[in-house]
Symmetry: C2
Subunit: 435 residues, 2 copies
């Protein structure tokens, strides 16, 4: 019988992910010990209410409400409380006390990542966060290490399971956003207050984390252009389907040259977009997540899996934990965050994309010419134009544009809305991932 030294782990939070992390640590301890070469000792679980109901059956004596004290006796602290405070203060305390930290807290990283990474760097502590983006899918480590010798050009991520479930359901059943959201809530895919998900806030936090890592640049969450899915209609989804597209909420991180200065910059944005059915991201169904990465040498790569859920996300937490614990055994620090590139985050107006615009127009001679004129005036090139005549004397016109700057496209749409033959601008959606 080998005697192993023990590594003391403190867990902060016992929600859906935290309770599964604790359960797996207790159930698979021996297997982890063999892999690490040391025994993981779960010294305690800090919670707000010791008597709250948990997703897993855990020994009562592990629970405490005194997180600061628990941290003092830990070699590694796992933070799964969520939210900014007290998580931020506790993580900083853990780092200051010499502990390494594993977190799944995307809100905290998006808002205070730079501060936390600097604090960890200063004392040589590890701060790992695989669970913060795309749940179980290994994406942080591949970006941070596997692709470290390559140059990442673009990331298109489906990183919010709730909205993907809703959009997928709208696509497959023709449901309205409201009905699809109701189903998602019923099945536990959406929270009681779905704002963070359907408003794109959750995706924007994850985009911040991915972009910071991919481009070696500190990206403030405020610099992310964010649009949620609240404006997506059943008609848009159906029209997209007929045209060979599917609507997906994308987190987009892109390296590009500033069209004004010519200098290298990046764009980080979240919005619902049309994705061609042939694109690998179009096949991501239900509440699954996927991150599509285009790297200069590696070419296109995709990472796919469960984006949420207590047990899958716990897998990502344990992966980080084992990696850090191994370093406690073999010695030596791991990798730290790098922001050496320090690229400018460009405003949405300076990026180029293409649009699909649906107009309701008067059914009269000269309409197409008038509309085409508006596009030409703004320097936006029209790729396709398709007209369907309705009975009421109006026609529906679907216009696909070539690539143009967001500014030119926004100006075009504004002018169209003021054009007399245009009854209404029914839908404006960007197109991403053309294959």
């Amino acid at each position: 019988m080998i005697e192993y030294r023990s590594i003391r782990v403190a867990l902060l939070g016992a929600g859906s992910v935290g309770s599964q992390v604790a359960r797996l640590l207790l159930e698979h301890g021996d297997e982890l010990t063999a892999r690490i070469g040391a025994r993981i000792e779960l010294v305690g679980i800090a919670v707000r209410d010791v008597d709250a109901k948990r997703d897993a059956d855990l020994p009562r004596e592990l629970f405490t409400t005194d997180a600061p004290r628990l941290i003092l006796g830990a070699d590694i602290v796992i933070e799964l409380m969520g939210g900014i405070e007290p998580a931020r203060t506790l993580v900083l305390q853990a780092i200051a006390s010499g502990a390494d930290v594993v977190t799944g807290n995307k809100a905290l990283l998006a808002a205070h990542g730079a501060e936390l990474f600097a604090a960890a760097e200063q004392v040589g502590a590890q701060l790992s966060y695989e669970a913060a983006v795309a749940g179980a899918i290994p994406i942080i480590r591949p970006l941070r290490e596997s692709l470290a010798g390559d140059r990442i050009e673009r990331i298109l991520g489906i990183v919010n399971g709730t909205t993907n479930y809703i959009l997928d359901r709208m696509d497959t059943t023709g449901a309205s956003l409201e009905d699809a959201l109701a189903t998602a809530t019923e099945l536990g895919y959406a929270e009681a207050d779905p704002t963070a998900d359907i408003g794109g806030y959750d995706a924007a936090q994850k985009a911040t984390i991915l972009a910071s890592l991919a481009f070696h640049t500190s990206v403030p969450v405020e610099s992310v252009h964010r649009e949620g899915i609240t404006g997506v209609t059943a008609a848009q989804v159906e029209s997209a389907r007929r045209a060979g597209y599917v609507v997906k909420l994308l987190a987009i991180c892109e390296r590009l040259a500033d069209p004004e200065s010519g200098e290298a910059g990046i764009s980080v944005r979240v919005y619902p977009a049309l994705v061609p059915r042939e694109h690998p991201l179009a096949a991501v169904r239900g509440a699954n997540n996927a991150v599509f990465v285009e790297a200069s040498a590696a070419g296109p790569l995709m990472f796919y899996g469960a984006g949420a859920g207590g047990v899958p996300t716990a897998s990502a937490v344990l992966g980080d934990l084992v990696a850090i614990a191994r370093r406690h055994v073999v010695g030596g620090p791991g990798t730290s965050e790098s922001t050496h590139a320090d690229l400018a985050v460009l405003p949405i107006g300076r990026i180029t994309t293409s649009y699909s615009i649906t107009l309701e127009v008067s059914d009269e001679p000269g309409v197409l010419a008038a509309i085409a004129h508006v596009f030409a005036d703004h320097g936006v090139s029209v790729e396709t134009m398709q007209q369907t005549v309705a009975e009421s004397g109006t026609a529906t016109l679907v216009i696909g544009t070539h690539q143009a700057t967001e500014q030119a496209l926004a100006d075009t749409v504004a002018t169209l809305a003021d054009t007399p033959v245009v009854v209404s601008v029914a839908s404006v959606l960007r197109v991403e991932g053309a294959v």
Copy 2:
């Protein structure tokens, strides 16, 4: 201007991958320096013939034919020669000299991995090999680190681009194997001697590497059950298509209980199998690769991308190089191979799977009963049976089975071949990845 220390890198081999690694190191040196915190100095490239034509324009003074001498002056050795010798001897020499090693040599790892890992472990050297499996796709590091806290249950990999291109072309154009292979050769997807690819040898080497890593068990390549695609016919592919399947050459690594002893074991096998069209692997087109991983906590994950090609594979080599070089800067060793689980590799007869069997039978009364009897006699449960009557007095019968042991299925097929009403056993294919 910061003065960086330099890390000396020796490259062995300047084929399609090696020449791109050298080019990228020379072209992107500054970017890598910023990420590593040290300068990568390519001290030389060992080749057989200094004057051979290369895929990239490289300074002639870097080339040498004296690999052993080059190694002596290196901190990190990148081995991209391929084949067993002299690669094995040179890698062992590099390790003995105190250098870390990055290799993309799957044949070497499959045949001598245990020896090389032991040698590296003994002196605390790193041996990284992301490029050995699935080209640019980060799969080694995710298995080794991201999923280190989870339990991998099964891997289904499309890890050979040549055969995937051939099978995809047969599926989409109805071409015969010979014609599809000819096209693959013409387009550079297949080598002049395609045996390693279409015979499944290449996939078996990769399966060995994946299984060893996933199951913490040293898996000899001889223990891998291997069938190539040479027996796959256009009729099988067409019949699969009509039934909602696609034929893929899969590398399968599976954790299972030995049906005889009840003890934990693993199965590692390579064969063409029917994959349901809805499975994520079915969408892997052309020469692309994908590795589908089922982990106990994480659930299903998929890693997708370019499985070969000089530039994409060079990305994987550089990722390993940067990771190792960073450790030279921050100090401390990385991770070593683990074979603590030491599970038994079960023979093919003990695994369970399901079959799709196509028989040509006499078109006479009682045939179905006779056939059904054969299956029942061997304890194999029939799930579907579909008969098509041909004009010549014979009928085609496609039988889908439930899960049964390979042994029972093989015995069933042998008995069917000897059954008087059976004119011929036209096709026998396994079904994997039922969704």
